[in-house]
Symmetry: D2
Subunit: 453 residues, 4 copies
């Protein structure tokens, strides 16, 4: 617009969230600010504070199309904020149809009232899109939790195989975390649905005794809440919202981490569908986990943005000098990053191609060793823990060194054989029989989800 934009997302990370970007765009910001000015004129006119004709003229002029973004940007640079040139431009425009009405533009308000309230309106719109994506992701995770409740796969701790889990349990974990992220975000959005309206110093003195009533009317007209008092330099609601966005991005990142690891060539248990995976013209076999990469990218970027919102909190007296302004780009950027991450995770979960057979094959590679715990829990009460574990460790060592099945080695140990016969050992080493509470956990997560979707 004015030659200083560096950001057309040529790199493509944000291509999937054009709707969120539109809600956060400068065009939307401009319109939201004009909406605030028009609503203010309306409620002031309804209370007889300004002439009804003025309100009509102001509302008529409050359409973003009539304004030059380039001129406004230049004006904002000179004045220190966007409201100053916008109010001037709105006044000029109103004056062309009703000169006396121009006097009543922005009546009793301060720049930050308009900038903050417009931001709040944009955040509500963008936030709803993100909670929608989280719900999509929840639905997909719930589907996997149901479908794969008994799809056995290796548990992995420290990136080493551990006792088995099921893909359903893993999905239930994703599901529950997504639901928590969404509920937290919904609560924070509600908490941050707060009108900013205080006038020059936060007293609404320019409106005499009418301030609180105008504030209430204005909030109602804009679909916002009227807080007990203005919050120009108390930014905690926005910071809490930022944290909720950051946590949603991190939640998507955790899922993406799992998916990226599962899609490794050597693991290959789950991957993006061919049409979504990044290909390589010189490596036709590759299925790059592009969606997981986007979600991990966003999870990498969110923490620094949340930290900046926190760092900007100690703002000076009645108007911040540096802190407030730092929020202007950082908060929308964080929302966009969160949107890209959560939507990528949703798409990845929805499109996930699962290779249950490969999961089982990977699990079998260690010949039963990850199930040693099952045997240990049976041996310990009989042999005592120390002796049981010594026997198991020796058997594991021998099985690995000699390349023999763990069951064979265990069955050949006389101390073990006294407690468990070959058949019992094999049953204990069967991954599908050592899933404990996994079905119950999946059920609980799904029940929780069903109550709230």
């Amino acid at each position: 617009v004015n030659g200083v934009s560096t950001r057309t997302d040529l790199l493509g990370l944000m291509a999937a969230v054009a709707d969120v970007a539109a809600a956060l765009s400068d065009r939307a910001r401009l319109q939201a600010m004009l909406d605030v000015e028009a609503a203010l004129a309306d409620v002031e006119s309804a209370r007889g504070i300004i002439p009804a004709a003025a309100a009509g003229a102001i509302r008529a002029a409050a359409h973003a199309d009539g304004y030059s973004m380039a001129e406004l940007a230049a004006g904002a640079a000179a004045a220190g904020n966007l409201a100053i040139p916008l109010v001037a431009a709105l006044r000029a425009r109103v004056a062309t149809t009703d000169p006396s009405a121009a006097t009543y533009v922005h009546w009793g308000a301060t720049s930050q009232d308009v900038i903050d309230t417009a931001l709040v309106l944009q955040l509500q719109a963008a936030g709803r899109l993100i909670t929608g994506d989280l719900r999509r992701a929840e639905a997909a995770a719930a589907g996997h939790a149901r479908r794969h409740a008994t799809t056995v796969m290796a548990g992995r701790t420290w990136l080493q195989q551990a006792p088995p889990v099921t893909l359903g349990l893993k999905s239930a974990g994703w599901l529950a975390s997504l639901s928590r992220a969404r509920r937290r975000l919904e609560a924070s959005l509600e908490d941050a649905r707060a009108l900013q309206f205080g006038g020059a110093s936060g007293t609404l003195a320019a409106l005499g005794g009418d301030g609180p009533a105008v504030a209430r009317d204005l909030a109602a007209k804009l679909g916002l809440q009227a807080p007990p008092l203005p919050w120009h330099t108390h930014r905690d609601r926005l910071v809490a919202l930022a944290a909720a966005f950051g946590i949603a991005a991190g939640t998507a990142g955790k899922i993406a981490r799992d998916l990226a690891l599962l899609s490794q060539t050597e693991v290959a248990e789950a991957c993006d569908p061919p049409e979504a995976a990044g290909g390589s013209s010189t490596m036709p076999h590759k299925r790059n986990p592009v969606r997981a990469a986007i979600a991990l990218t966003c999870a990498t970027r969110a923490p620094g943005l949340v930290a900046t919102m926190l760092a900007a909190m100690p703002q000076e007296h009645e108007r911040g000098l540096g802190g407030w302004q730092a929020e202007w780009d950082v908060l929308p950027e964080l929302v966009l990053v969160t949107a890209a991450g959560t939507r990528a995770a949703a798409a990845a979960l929805e499109g996930l191609v699962v290779d249950a057979e490969r999961m089982r094959r990977n699990l079998d590679r260690l010949g039963g060793l990850p199930m040693a715990e099952a045997v240990a829990m049976r041996l310990a009460p009989v042999l005592g823990r120390a002796e049981a574990h010594a026997a198991l460790a020796e058997a594991a060592r021998k099985a690995t060194a000699e390349g023999r099945p763990f069951a064979d080695v265990l069955a050949a140990d006389p101390a073990i054989a006294r407690v468990l016969d070959r058949q019992a050992i094999e049953r204990l080493l069967s991954p599908g029989d050592y899933l404990g509470a996994a079905p119950a956990f999946i059920e609980e997560a799904l029940a929780d989800y069903d109550r709230d979707r």
Copy 2:
């Protein structure tokens, strides 16, 4: 203890929060872990999973005093976490009285179950201390809001004097932000009051079908909630809690920023009492705002710690490799920093020495210029906004250049004189008469506080 501690707080920042430090200390961590082991044995014994005698022996051995922190730390370094050497030490100790009981120590649990649950217990204890400090700060701010409801002082935007506020309004703003910080922290503490219990891979497979019931009993015994499923690599509850701590620290920082600015030599409107201010032997006049400095220090440190918690979220599969471990020191550090900041802010508010006379004198320095808006609101409907503002700007210029009272210059302007006589101008320039909704805002903030204290 083991030669690697670098942190004895010699620098003094944490001296005032020794109780919080104690709740977060390694000693408390050790005891909390032992409490978890003892409670686990109790509930398993009550369900007949382990012998009652074993549970008794385990509980008898679960006192931190019996363990060498140095040896445990060395063991933790080798094993990768503290639970491994602690469980071994507990087993050894139990074995001295009841060898067969040693088998049932830590029965069915995994290291992270014990480490996470102990952390949750510590966080609840430390968190309660901080919400207590926030309540102290709220009470002090409420006192100022009441006492100074009509104590007029300069509003300040961009660090420039703006229309007047009252110290009561400023205090009401502090109060409301403190209440929000405290409520958010209470809610996050409640949300994070979650047992961790999943066994090696999160299935509780070692307990067969008893897992969920044991989890419920264990949670109840420890005063925690039993979540639908384990959350070993889903850290959002802790991260949300971290954000709530960070916001509390930022809230304290905002108050401290205001107080530090008010205590400047050239402003001198409020300061720490002599006994609390930092002195200087070579500058006997100095009253260094030590409390504000501590709160600002903590507000500077919190964002990076919160960011680390967020950055650590994408943890691998069933056990994090780097992310989980990053939380170990970072979360307690953040809690301590928050405690120091909020307690310093509370003390600063409680002890605040207010110079109302100086406030008024500072406000009068500009000879009424900051009240220009009051005149403008009256002139604009009559003269039109443009003409009114031109007249005011010219009068302000003249008053500054010629060193004359603003009222004199205004009264001498014929255009203005047609609308307002000298007396009316003086009334408009009287700060105490231009406070708008300040009293109403204070009242609303106090009412909100009274409902919830």
Copy 3:
């Protein structure tokens, strides 16, 4: 371009750095990538690896104007990076004039080679603009250091008046820090002037044995250095450069903090010139420190961006999955933020309106108390430190309580009077005579500057 841009800088923070924004723009990125492709074809043709005609056709097609940013962005989103659709588009374009040449586009290179090298080229261009601004700021600070070498003003520690300094000394401190920031940035830019060229896995295997020679030629042609080996997942050079940018932003922020504090209504020792200060239509007296606010805004934003660059370092094997992609927007954003901050600081220093008379008046407000140290240093060797300080503290207390000049009270103390007569006391309390090494420090800083400008 493609509907997802949210960033037109409507808020105006970046208006002053349109040249830097242009250097970092997506248009510039596209051209830089095409420059890399063209240079690669040239050097490969010169070595007989690809046909000369192919190189000519490729160079002819390497102009950004011929490409649709919207299509490329969409392609990047699908493929996971921008090079894939760009290379395809370049091939298609080359094929329209020389079908056989299309085969040799991007010959032997991988996407990251082109993306990273183009970024390096952009960073060099943008970085030079910023070092230019730092030099501007240095020149302005050096001017103040010279002009105001003896302009006495209050030293301020803990925001309390301390023994005097001069504006020249303060400026010398700014100067030295700006020079260090600029030198560090120059060194980091030089260090990061590194070609990326490694092919699919970093071995340049597709070029057989010619890889290193092609790399050397390509680096030379692009004005870059050829590092010993590719650095696809070793990002330290870029992170070190990011840190240098962040430190420059912080340096500008420190200066801005001082200027914002000096411009407070109650201090008013220095401010922006009227044409640059932000005004307020309803408060005609205000001179908002807009430049300082921008620099502080940027200093608030830089740390989170640097942290993200650091957090993205542990990239996977031969190509990062999330970490690399996080750099794409974050590093240009950091550069832009740094540019805005340093340029605002430069402008603020260049335009600074100094009120030396007010400096002196502010200093005199405490009636000599901040000079107590001067007296103490003379009394202590005679009376002993303890007695000297007790006498001074008592005198300070009395002067403040009784509103008497400090010199009077000191002279009236018999213990002090034995050591210092009234005239000596007054000389000691004269700020202009208690500047110690300030002139020498200024001289050293200016000499250092002169050596290097």
Copy 4:
């Protein structure tokens, strides 16, 4: 010590860096501060500014053992910094042997002079230990680069197998990044080897005209450089050093990421030796990559700490209020984290158990598909790129779908067969023959290392 320490490293992350922790300990801090006081007295006595006897008495009292850390910490909390109670305690102690000497303790200095200079001394000591660890890591990486120059393994991009590399090349990349991290750290340590000495306001006024000379002498005596002027609120040297630490931690983290991925059960190409890997009593087969986990933990923690150092830069006037104090704990913490990370990476590299046979086996799993590029580079000039790639993609699809060797399918394609016979295809698909510049890159990296070790 004083009841507020929460940090005894019970969790074990820092156990391996007890020497670094000792260099950064509060005990070392105390002694460094006393060293500064003693050196100051010495040089002032040598210049006749204070009596020689006083200097002797001060030096005699400057041993940390004589002071109560608990009392000092309590004093620091009250005064706002540690130097105030320490100087008082030192004076009291000196007075017991030479009452008149007590007057000359800390003569002409300010608290920050002593605190900052002591910190600089500690950082030099700790920094040297870390550069030593980086050299260890370099030596280990160089060893692998040499030994495994021809040990072929899969290249991996996006965690998918790509054309082959060698472990030697991977090690050469680690080596070069470690060397750069070490050189950067050495340069930053040298840059930050700067005395702080400015007195109350940075003018050294208390020393009259002797300030600069005393500063030079003091720097020389302490092994530091005397900067052109004091830098109390210009913290860039320390921040640049912090960034260098952070980059070293990130470098270690990148290596750890690779090692953790290589040690996965399903990859198993390299791991910690049995004695160093974390074991599991219930899973005897596990080899948890404890060292990599520590390095990744530290890489996760460093960015937030560096960000805090940057965020603290805009410090007020002549003494920071919150920013300076934030550094006190954060910088030592960052150094310790870096030490733990780099030492863990060094140990991991030194002890690395490599399974070259498994590397080869993993590479062979895809039946030659990752070598498709080698074939493509040969076919493209003959068939044209488009046709060549279509043929390869179809062959890859067929090979995967039908489970046939890639070479078979390729040889069966008539278009390909016209260009390459079966033998040529097999040679092209041989990983060991498709390493391009890998040997040259390794050689260059080793040559660079040899020049500088």
